[in-house]
């Protein structure tokens, strides 16, 4: 699936929820679901320090695609990371660079990506784009 198709699917999924509590409960479940990053990559180098919560991001190349893994110490942040990883991981660098994050607004989580939120998510997206930029330049 393309990034756009994945994002559309996510928006569809979220349209089932009536209110913020259901959305949050779903995100919390996503956050709890899996370790999103190999423990060995939870290093100081991979950490993005927000004032509120920490985020770790790790990138690997898989043929012509980039695979992202990430984690956070806050469960809501981790849940949103799960959504972002689903949309951006295992995609081509050029596609990642082109993609936007408007779907986050559509699923009612816009405020979590506000630069003032200091939860590490904004920096995480920046980091994802930076990796994509670097891979793109390299190849």
């Amino acid at each position: 699936m393309t990034i756009q198709e994945i994002q559309d699917t996510i928006v569809d999924e979220f349209s089932m929820f009536d209110d913020w509590m259901q959305r949050y409960e779903y995100i919390i479940d996503l956050g709890k679901a899996l370790p999103l990053i190999d423990e060995q990559y939870k290093t100081e180098d991979n950490i993005i320090k927000g004032c509120q919560s920490k985020v770790w991001v790790h990138a690997e190349q898989n043929e012509d695609k980039i695979v992202f893994t990430a984690d956070s110490d806050a469960i809501l942040t981790k849940g949103i990371i799960a959504i972002l990883i689903r949309a951006f991981s295992n995609q081509k660098a050029a596609d990642i660079l082109e993609a936007n994050t408007d779907f986050i607004d559509e699923i009612g989580l816009k405020e979590h990506l506000s630069p003032t939120r200091a939860n590490g998510l904004v920096s995480m997206i920046k980091q994802i784009k930076m990796y994509a930029l670097a891979y793109n330049a390299k190849n």
């Binding site: 949050y24 919390i28 509120q52 920490k54 806050a74 469960i75």
Partner: protein
């Protein structure tokens, strides 16, 4: 006794809805809300009084200058400073601390010592670190115990004739501890050290008497005591303010300027370079009048009631731990539940209309001491109620349920 309904009606913002829920504002440690008299005074200043001060010959400038100086006098009375010129207008606590720390650069030598407490806000750590880097002085830390109280025996041992300045907050922003500053000031003076008291978190709850305390500097912010943002106070004893060089150069702080030599203006202008926050300075006087009308004794006893009630109710939640259990404590409750991240709880109760602070509260060393990423901090003001605490506690329970 406070008439809470009447007081709440003074604050327009408190009748707001957030996400269709009545706002419960428990982030008073970060900034206080503003009563109508303060908001009106800001408007009145710009509608009727706006002119630059201390330099115009015209009537409006004279009136604005008078209002600014009247406000200085109010603040002098409020903190019981000996002279009005010991009250310096700054942009806030951080600015005040930096002005003093910068001034000490001309006094400190290699090997001198600066004592800060383990309970400080970053604003009362970093300027002193910068000072030490500049001068070769050594920064030493007064440790605290598990309750969040400073260990005074260690403090006594740290003091020596090398100690040049001790800097400590009156009340801790992260934990609410009220520090025994009378004792600390006395002990510091015995070794000839100056003392700066960071009163940012204390001035919303009490009325400091700088002469009785005998502190050398006392600093605080306007926005935490119902005043506007961008204005604060540096109180300094006259002898110290004369000794310290000015912090910033510019207009207003000079007596004469030539390219060969500039002589500085007398106090307080020596420390007030440039056009100040005139509106802020004037309206800070209005805010202080407002709080004095309510009465700091009334405020303190009511807030203690809220603190006791909130503490009792929160502790009924299983797995909840309060950080900061000092015997002497202001109306601040910092807590976590089990190993739930404070950000998660803060985010969920925000959706329920409740404003609290989460994170490290600009006091990372305290969080490191407890090995936690941060806390949820509820800080109560005199316009908060027990009913609000009840709703807050229910919201925290709901968040806990969602997150476990």
């Amino acid at each position: 006794m406070l008439d809470i309904n009447k007081i709440r009606a003074d604050f327009p913002i408190l009748s707001q809805q957030i996400y269709c829920k009545p706002l419960i504002y428990f982030d008073n440690g970060a900034t206080s809300q503003k009563p109508k008299v303060v908001i009106d005074a800001i408007t009145k200043y710009y509608e009727q009084l706006n002119a630059n001060i201390h330099r115009g010959v015209h009537k409006l400038s004279q009136d604005a200058t008078d209002a600014y100086e009247v406000s200085r006098g109010k603040i002098q009375n409020h903190i019981n400073a000996k002279f009005p010129y010991e009250v310096i207008f700054t942009s806030g606590t951080t600015h005040s601390i930096n002005a003093v720390a910068n001034g000490f650069a001309s006094i400190l030598k290699t090997g001198d010592e600066v004592l800060v407490s383990a309970l400080e806000h970053h604003s009362n750590i970093v300027p002193w670190q910068m000072l030490c880097e500049k001068t070769g002085a050594v920064l030493k830390v007064i440790p605290m115990n598990e309750a969040g109280e400073l260990i005074l025996s260690d403090y006594d041992n740290l003091l020596s004739n090398k100690t040049k300045i001790v800097t400590v907050n009156h009340i801790s922003n992260a934990l609410g501890t009220i520090n025994p500053i009378e004792y600390m000031i006395k002990k510091a003076h015995e070794v000839g050290a100056a003392v700066l008291i960071d009163g940012a978190q204390a001035t919303p709850h009490l009325k400091p008497d700088v002469q009785a305390l005998d502190c050398d500097f006392y600093v605080f912010s306007g926005h935490k005591i119902c005043g506007p943002t961008g204005v604060g106070i540096l109180y300094g004893k006259e002898e110290w303010l004369r000794k310290l060089p000015p912090y910033q150069g510019g207009g207003e702080m000079i007596a004469t300027v030539s390219f060969e030599k500039t002589t500085y203006a007398d106090l307080p202008h020596k420390f007030e370079a440039g056009t100040p926050n005139i509106e802020g300075g004037i309206v800070l006087g209005t805010a202080i009048d407002y709080m004095n009308e309510i009465g700091f004794d009334n405020i303190a006893s009511y807030e203690q009631e809220l603190l006791e009630y909130g503490t009792k109710k929160l502790l009924e939640i299983e797995g909840l731990k309060i950080y900061g259990t000092a015997k002497e404590k202001a109306s601040v409750i910092s807590f976590n539940i089990d190993d739930i991240h404070p950000y998660d709880i803060g985010t969920i109760i925000d959706k329920l209309g409740i404003a609290v602070r989460t994170g490290h509260h600009c006091a990372q060393p305290i969080m490191d001491f407890f090995s936690i990423p941060g806390t949820i901090r509820a800080s109560f003001a005199f316009y908060n109620t027990k009913e609000e605490i009840d709703i807050f506690v229910e919201a925290v329970k709901k968040a806990k349920m969602m997150l476990t």
